[in-house]
């Protein structure tokens, strides 16, 4: 069921009477229990869209609503009960402990002086546990790694107990392991705690693996949205970048560089992994892989140390991939 929706939305900036739209014609809906990844090129307007969806920036056209109520009509206080955010803003909170930061998530519920009740305190502990940061509860924020800090901010959003969590680039600046942990955490929050989680990301592979839906911002500033696999198979990924040197490899599930090939070589190999990496070496060196039976140049690989290069002039054995490249390069210059 949709909890946050955008109708005929145009996001962008207004200065005086002139407007500069960034992304337009958006009809989007965010549902509980789903992790949605917003992906697109840098500077395409992902952050602008997120700021509009959380009510920080008014839309140029159309509307954003939460449970059918327009976001502009929801009071700041009520909005803080519906929607929690995580961003990459620099904080001054280095000398606060993790528990103190997560406790700030209870501010919408506490009184004038911000004193926590017993219930607030147990929600804070639960939030830290769910975010996997409870073991650092008494550490200062300054003592944590970037990945741990991100978990703290996610725990803060959890302590806020909102049905919607919106995260701007939560995995930027993180190493691969922390990125995957963070994505898995968000995936679990959506599925196990029935939250609507929307994040913007550069990370295609993890987004495709764990997001239930993708919102792809294309290079002509439209959005293609839908179930992750449906969006991927529709070819939407190729419209993310205007660049002609990269294309989306549907089999690999990632972007790859289009390398020019001058010569074609037939590659025989039963080991899929070996075949992939020999192919990688060949493509990088300007050789295309051919399936043409008539192709006279042929490589047969049994293991990385047993490779045979055959051409019209005869066969040579190579005992490593490096050796193989040297041999075929020598051959092609002879030709």
């Amino acid at each position: 069921m949709s909890i946050l929706s955008a109708k005929d939305l145009t996001v962008g900036y207004r200065k005086g009477n002139s407007t500069s739209p960034v992304i337009s014609g958006l009809n989007l809906s965010l549902s509980r229990g789903k992790l949605v990844a917003l992906i697109g090129a840098n500077g395409i307007g992902k952050s602008t869209l997120l700021r509009t969806l959380v009510g920080n920036q008014p839309p140029l056209e159309g509307e954003v609503s939460i449970s059918g109520i327009r976001i502009g009509e929801i009071s700041r206080k009520n909005l803080s009960l519906l929607l929690g955010i995580v961003n990459t803003e620099r904080t001054q909170a280095g000398a606060l402990t993790v528990r103190e930061v997560v406790s700030l998530g209870r501010q919408p519920y506490t009184g004038f002086l911000g004193i926590l009740s017993k219930n607030d305190k147990s929600i804070v502990e639960k939030a830290m546990q769910d975010a996997g940061i409870l073991h650092k509860a008494s550490s200062f924020l300054a003592e944590l790694s970037d990945g741990e800090r991100q978990k703290v901010m996610i725990a803060k959003a959890l302590a806020q107990c909102t049905p919607i969590i919106i995260l701007d680039e939560p995995t930027a600046f993180l190493d691969v392991a922390s990125r995957m942990e963070t994505m898995l955490l968000l995936h679990n929050l959506a599925h196990k705690q029935n939250k609507a989680v929307l994040l913007s990301s550069h990370d295609l592979s993890q987004s495709m693996m764990l997001a239930d839906e993708l919102w792809v911002v294309t290079n002509d500033q439209k959005i293609i949205s839908g179930n992750t696999e449906d969006v991927v198979l529709s070819g939407a990924m190729d419209s993310i970048f205007a660049s002609s040197i990269i294309s989306f490899d549907l089999l690999q599930g990632d972007f790859c560089i289009n390398l020019d090939s001058q010569y074609d070589i037939k590659l025989n190999c039963n080991d899929k992994i070996l075949k992939k990496w020999i192919g990688n070496a060949l493509k990088r060196n300007g050789y295309g892989i051919s399936n043409d039976e008539a192709c006279k140049n042929e490589i047969t690989a049994i293991s990385p140390n047993e490779i045979t290069v055959s051409t019209a002039q005869g066969s040579i054995k190579a005992n490593s991939i490096s050796d193989m490249i040297a041999i075929i390069k020598g051959k092609s210059t002879n030709q």
């Binding site: 700041r76 955010i85 961003n87 803003e89 002086l113 509860a137 300054a142």
Partner: protein
Amino acid sequence: MNNTQKNSIRTTVAIIVLCALILLLAAGNLLIGSVDIPTSEIMSILAGNGASNPVMEIIILESRIPTIITALLGGAALAVCGLLLQTVFNNPLADPSILGVSTGASLGVAIVMLLGGGLLGSAFDSELSGYISTLAGAFAGAMAVLAMLLIFSTFVKSETMLLIIGIMVSYLTSSAISLLNFFASEEGVHSYVVWGMGNFSSVTTDQLISFSVIVVIGLAAALLMVKPLNALLLGTKYAENLGVNIQSTRNWLLLITGILTAVLTAYCGPIAFIGLVVPHIARMLLKTSNHNSLLPVTMLTGSAMALLCTFISVLPVSIGIIPINAITPVIGVPIILYIILNRRKLQYFN
């Protein structure tokens, strides 16, 4: 023992030690001054039995005690102003004097003292109206600078740039003050220069009540802002998402700062460094930026610091009183340098 427990122990110890220090310094200020009064006479005066010499009674009751109370409240007020500005502008080097707020207040005072004294001299016959107009001038000047900073802060996002704008505003204001001094009477310039050196002993017994009431209200108002101040530590976007009305919170914080700076500047002169340094001392003592404990401890540290400066100022007993603004940088600069050099190690910067 984890950090949470350590923090609460640290806070308790800091409060006890600071209170003891404040009592000690207050006693020191009571016992030592430019006139040598025996301790037994002071005890007798405090007990209400009077002294052998009525002049001693006047010195204690109308000079030393008002000075102690002024330093106690004034120090707390200056330190709180520094802390509020550091949190609002997200800048560890913010304080009323660096951002030009005190200079703004000084300009207001200068206009009243120099122009008023020269052109409208007769209008300030009564001392009371004179003080009210000085206070109003200081408040108008402080608020004008704060408003200007607030406007700049909406489109200047860099904290360092905002600080530099504050320093520029300060220069402009100083140049206006110089011009006023240039055209003012010799007498006016002299009283302005003496005022500008800063001291906690110029609040008279009559003014003490109004001074105390305004400062106590300002400090109490600051204590009520602890919740949004803590949210602001996460940055404005997070704070807004936690339900904080950024605009009105900022306005309130700047109003409190403006009033406290104005009262302090009008009565005691533009006192530098206490606002800048004390919040850092308090953070280093407590090892936290949580305003729940930081704000009260900043107040106590500010009081102790002001009393210490006042105490040092009367030490050269026979020569007279050293201006406060000659002492605060001597204490403040080494601390600021220490903080700058240890920026990476001090966790409240990270």
